[in-house]
C-alpha cells in the first residue's frame, strides 16, 4: 500500500515536470484561461448597449420630436441619420449603419390628439434576429413610457394593472453574472480533456508509454499518476477564473467554496476520465487532439452556455446526459449565484461521479490490457 503510494507520487512528480518544465507549455496552460475569461466575460453577452438607428420623420411635429428625444435620452439609442425619403431606408439597413429605422408618418400628431392609434413603423436588420428582437423590445419600452406619460398628461386613465418586474439572484439582469461563472467549467473542460488526451498520446507516439508499462507500476497506479496531476492543473485553472470573476468582474459569490470545489473535483475527474478514454482510442497526438475536439464541441455547444438546454429536442437532451459540462455549469452557476447546497445538487453530483468512475476504471483496464 505504502509503496504503491510512493510510486503514484513519483509518477505525479514526473507528470508535473513533463507539463510544467517547458515555459511555453506553462504559458499555454495558464495564459489562455486568463485571456479567454477576460475577453469572453466582456464579449459573451446578449445585452445590447448601443442601438444605432435612423429616423424618417414625416410629421415634424412636437409629438414626434418628443418621442425621438425620449429615444435619444435613453442612452442606448444613437441616431445615425435623419432620412428624407423612404427610399433611403434600405441603404442604411443593408450597410449595417442602422439596426433600426423608425418611420413616423405625417398624421402622427393629428392621430394622437384625436385619440386614434398613431402608428410608428419600425424596420429592423434581421440578419441577427436575436439582436433585432432585443432592439425592438427596447424601442417598445420607450414607446410604453411615452404612452404612459401621454395618457397622464391628457387626463386619460393609466393601465389598470401595472406589472412590477423583479429578478432573483441577479437584480440588474446582467448576463455577465451567469456567463462568467459558466466559463469556469467551460474553459477548464477544454484544458483538462485536451491536456490529458495529449499527455498519454504523446507518450504513445514517442514510445515512452510502453517503457512505463514494463516498469513495476500497476495499471491502476499509471492511471492515477496520469489523472491526479491533470485534475490538479484543472483545479488551478478553475481557481484562476474564479478569482477573475470575483475580483475583476466583481460578481458577488454567494455560495460555499466547499460545495463548489467538491463539484469541480468531481467534474474534473469526469473530464480527465474522458480525456483518458480518448487517448485509448487515439494512436497519435493528432488523433487524440481531433477526437478530443470532436467531443468537446458538442459538449460546449449543448451545455446551456450559449442557448438554453430546455429548447433542445428530447433525443439530444437524453444523449447529453453524458455531458459533464452540463452538470458543471449547473453547479457553478447555482453555487455561485444561488448559494445552492449539497442536497440541491445531488442530481448534478451523482452523474458526474458515475462518469468519472466509469471512464477512470476503463482507463485502468485499458492500461492493463496493453500490458498483457
Amino acid at each position: 500500500m505504502r509503496s504503491s503510494l510512493y510510486r503514484i507520487l513519483a509518477l505525479i512528480q514526473k507528470e508535473f515536470l513533463a507539463v510544467l518544465k517547458d515555459p511555453r507549455s506553462r504559458t499555454i496552460i495558464f495564459l489562455p484561461p486568463i485571456l479567454q475569461s477576460l475577453l469572453f466575460g466582456y464579449a459573451a453577452s446578449f445585452d445590447l448597449n448601443s442601438v444605432p438607428y435612423a429616423v424618417l420623420d414625416q410629421d415634424h411635429s412636437a409629438a414626434s420630436a418628443a418621442l425621438l428625444s425620449r429615444l435619444d435620452g435613453s442612452g442606448v439609442f444613437h441616431r445615425q441619420a435623419d432620412l428624407a425619403r423612404a427610399g433611403d431606408i434600405s441603404a442604411l439597413i443593408n450597410s449595417s449603419r442602422a439596426l433600426l429605422v423608425i418611420q413616423i408618418g405625417q398624421d402622427f400628431e393629428r392621430h394622437l390628439v384625436m385619440g386614434e392609434p398613431a402608428l410608428v413603423q419600425v424596420v429592423a436588420d434581421g440578419r441577427n434576429s436575436n439582436t433585432a428582437g432585443t432592439a425592438m423590445g427596447y424601442f417598445g419600452n420607450v414607446v410604453d413610457e411615452f404612452n404612459a406619460d401621454w395618457r397622464s398628461g391628457h387626463g386619460q386613465a393609466g393601465p389598470p394593472v401595472q406589472i412590477v418586474m423583479r429578478s432573483w439572484y441577479n437584480p440588474n439582469l446582467d448576463s455577465r453574472w451567469g456567463m462568467v461563472p459558466s466559463l469556469i467549467g467551460t474553459l477548464t473542460l477544454v484544458g483538462a480533456m485536451m491536456l490529458t488526451a495529449m499527455s498519454v498520446a504523446r507518450e504513445r507516439e514517442q514510445g515512452t508509454f510502453d517503457q512505463l508499462l514494463v516498469t513495476p507500476f500497476r495499471p491502476f497506479e499509471i492511471m492515477a499518476g496520469k489523472a491526479i496531476p491533470n485534475v490538479a492543473i484543472g483545479l488551478a485553472q478553475s481557481t484562476t477564473i474564479l478569482l477573475i470573476a470575483q475580483f475583476w468582474f466583481h460578481i458577488p459569490f454567494s455560495g460555499s467554496f466547499v460545495v463548489l470545489y467538491s463539484g469541480l473535483g468531481l467534474f474534473l475527474m469526469a473530464a480527465v476520465g474522458l480525456g483518458l478514454l480518448v487517448s485509448s482510442i487515439a494512436a497519435t497526438m493528432q488523433q487524440a487532439m481531433l477526437y478530443a475536439f470532436l467531443l468537446i464541441m458538442p459538449f460546449a455547444l449543448l451545455s446551456g452556455l450559449v442557448t438554453p438546454v430546455k429548447t433542445m429536442p428530447e433525443f439530444l437532451q437524453s444523449a447529453l446526459l453524458i455531458n459533464p459540462l452540463l452538470y458543471a455549469l449547473d453547479i457553478t452557476k447555482r453555487v455561485y449565484l444561488e448559494n445552492a447546497g449539497f442536497a440541491q445538487l445531488v442530481p448534478d453530483f451523482a452523474p458526474l461521479a458515475a462518469i468519472g468512475a466509469v471512464t477512470l476504471s476503463f482507463a485502468a483496464w485499458f492500461f492493463r490490457k496493453r500490458l498483457a
Binding site: 475577453l39 389598470p160 464541441m297
Partner: protein, 375 residues
C-alpha cells in the same frame, strides 16, 4: 519549360502523398466529413435562441375572482405552464430546484386596489440566465394585457396605447434563428478544417523531423507549401459544400446573394485559415502548442468574437477593437449578408478585400518563416 514540368511533377508527387495521408488517417476524415455533419445536426436541432414554454409558480394571496381570472389568463397563454403555490417562499424553493422558472405574485389587496384603479402584480424571474429571464418578462406582458382587455374593457384597452408600434424584421421575417446560425456554421467548419487540422499535420512533420528530410531533396519551399495547401483546401471545400446543401435542403435558409460570390467569400476565408494553420505550426513546431495556439487564435474567437452568436454591438469598445483583427468577423458579416441581404456591394467588397489581404499576408509570412528555418 523543362524546369516547370519538374516543378509540377514534384508538387503532384507531394500532393498525392499528402492526400493519401489525409485519407488514411481516420481522424482527418472525421474532421473533414464527420465534423461538418455533426455541426449541421447540432446547429440545426440543438441550438436555438427561439423561445419555449416557461413554468411559472403562481402565488395568489388575494384569492378573489379577479385574481383567479388573472392566473387563468396565464394558464391560457401558450407560453406559460402554471403551478399554483401558497407562498413566495414555496415559489422560491421551486425556482431553486429548477421546477419553475419564475413566480407570479398577486398581493392580498389586489382586487381591492384594482377596483380603485391602481393594482400591481409582481413577476419574479430567476436572473441566473439573464437572457431567458428577459424573455419571460416580455411574455408576462401578454396574459396581463389579455386579462386587462377582457376584464377591464370599460377602462380602455391597456395593450394598445396611443402610439402603436408596427415592426418588421427585414431579411428574416419569420424570426428563425437558423437564418443567422447557418452562415456562422460555414465559418466555424472552415476554421476547424483550415487552421486546426493543417496546424496539427505540419507540426507533426516538424516534430518528427520529416520536414528537414524533405528539405534536402530538390523540393522547394513554395512547392512544399502548395502541396500542403491543396489537400486541406479540398477537405475544406467538402465541408463547405455539405453545409451549403444542409442550409438549402434541411434548414431552408434563403440564399439571396449570388452563389459565385458566396463561394468566393468562403474560399478566401478558407485560405486565411489555412495560412494561420501553416504559419502557427511553422513557428512553434510542436503539435501540442500548435493545436492549443490555433484553438486560441482561430476557433474560440470565431465562436465568440465574430458576431456569430453574440452581437458585436453588445461588446465594449475595446473588445470591438480586438474583433477587427479577427478574420472570422469579416467572414461572418460576408456570409450573413450574402445569405440574407443579397449582393450588397458596400458591405461585401471592403470585407472581401480585408480577407484577401489577410490571406496573401499570411501565406507570404509562412513562406518567409519556412525559408528562415532552413538556413
Amino acid at each position: 519549360m523543362n524546369d516547370w514540368s519538374a516543378v509540377l511533377r514534384r508538387i503532384r508527387a507531394l500532393t498525392v502523398k499528402e492526400t493519401r495521408q489525409v485519407l488514411r488517417d481516420p481522424s482527418s476524415v472525421a474532421i473533414g466529413v464527420a465534423f461538418p455533419l455533426m455541426m449541421i445536426l447540432l446547429f440545426g436541432y440543438g441550438l436555438s435562441l427561439d423561445v419555449t414554454r416557461v413554468t411559472i409558480a403562481a402565488v395568489d394571496l388575494d384569492a378573489s375572482s379577479d385574481s383567479a381570472a388573472l392566473v387563468g389568463a396565464f394558464r391560457l397563454s401558450p407560453y406559460f405552464q402554471v403551478i399554483a403555490v401558497h407562498s413566495i417562499a414555496e415559489a422560491r424553493t421551486l425556482v431553486l430546484d429548477r421546477r419553475a422558472d419564475g413566480a407570479l405574485l398577486i398581493s392580498s389587496d389586489f382586487s381591492r386596489r384594482w377596483h380603485h384603479g391602481g393594482a400591481q402584480v409582481q413577476v419574479l424571474v430567476n436572473g441566473t440566465d439573464a437572457n431567458q429571464a428577459r424573455i419571460m418578462q416580455a411574455y408576462a406582458q401578454g396574459p396581463v394585457a389579455n386579462w386587462s382587455a377582457e376584464y377591464a374593457g370599460s377602462v380602455g384597452n391597456a395593450s394598445t396605447g396611443p402610439v402603436v408600434v408596427v415592426d418588421r424584421m427585414w431579411f428574416n421575417e419569420s424570426n428563425d434563428s437558423h437564418y443567422f446560425l447557418v452562415p456562422g456554421l460555414i465559418v466555424l467548419v472552415m476554421t476547424i478544417i483550415g487552421a486546426f487540422l493543417t496546424a496539427m499535420v505540419v507540426a507533426r512533420e516538424w516534430e518528427r523531423g520529416t520536414l528537414e528530410a524533405l528539405f534536402v531533396t530538390p523540393v522547394r519551399v513554395g512547392e512544399f507549401l502548395i502541396s500542403k495547401l491543396l489537400p486541406y483546401f479540398g477537405l475544406g471545400i467538402t465541408g463547405f459544400v455539405l453545409c451549403l446543401l444542409a442550409g438549402k435542403f434541411l434548414f431552408h435558409v434563403p440564399l439571396r446573394g449570388s452563389l459565385p460570390l458566396l463561394c468566393l467569400a468562403s474560399t478566401t476565408y478558407l485560405l486565411v485559415t489555412l495560412g494561420i494553420g501553416l504559419l502557427v505550426s511553422t513557428l512553434v513546431k510542436s503539435q501540442f502548442l500548435a493545436s492549443q495556439l490555433v484553438l486560441l487564435l482561430t476557433y474560440l474567437p470565431a465562436m465568440m468574437l465574430s458576431g456569430l452568436v453574440f452581437d458585436l454591438r453588445s461588446m465594449p469598445a475595446f473588445i470591438q477593437g480586438v474583433t477587427y483583427a479577427i478574420p472570422a468577423r469579416y467572414a461572418v458579416a460576408l456570409l450573413q449578408t450574402l445569405y440574407l441581404a443579397g449582393d450588397v456591394g458596400s458591405t461585401i467588397w471592403p470585407k472581401l478585400a480585408v480577407l484577401t489581404a489577410m490571406a496573401v499576408g499570411l501565406l507570404i509570412l509562412t513562406r518567409l518563416a519556412t525559408r528562415k528555418r532552413l538556413s
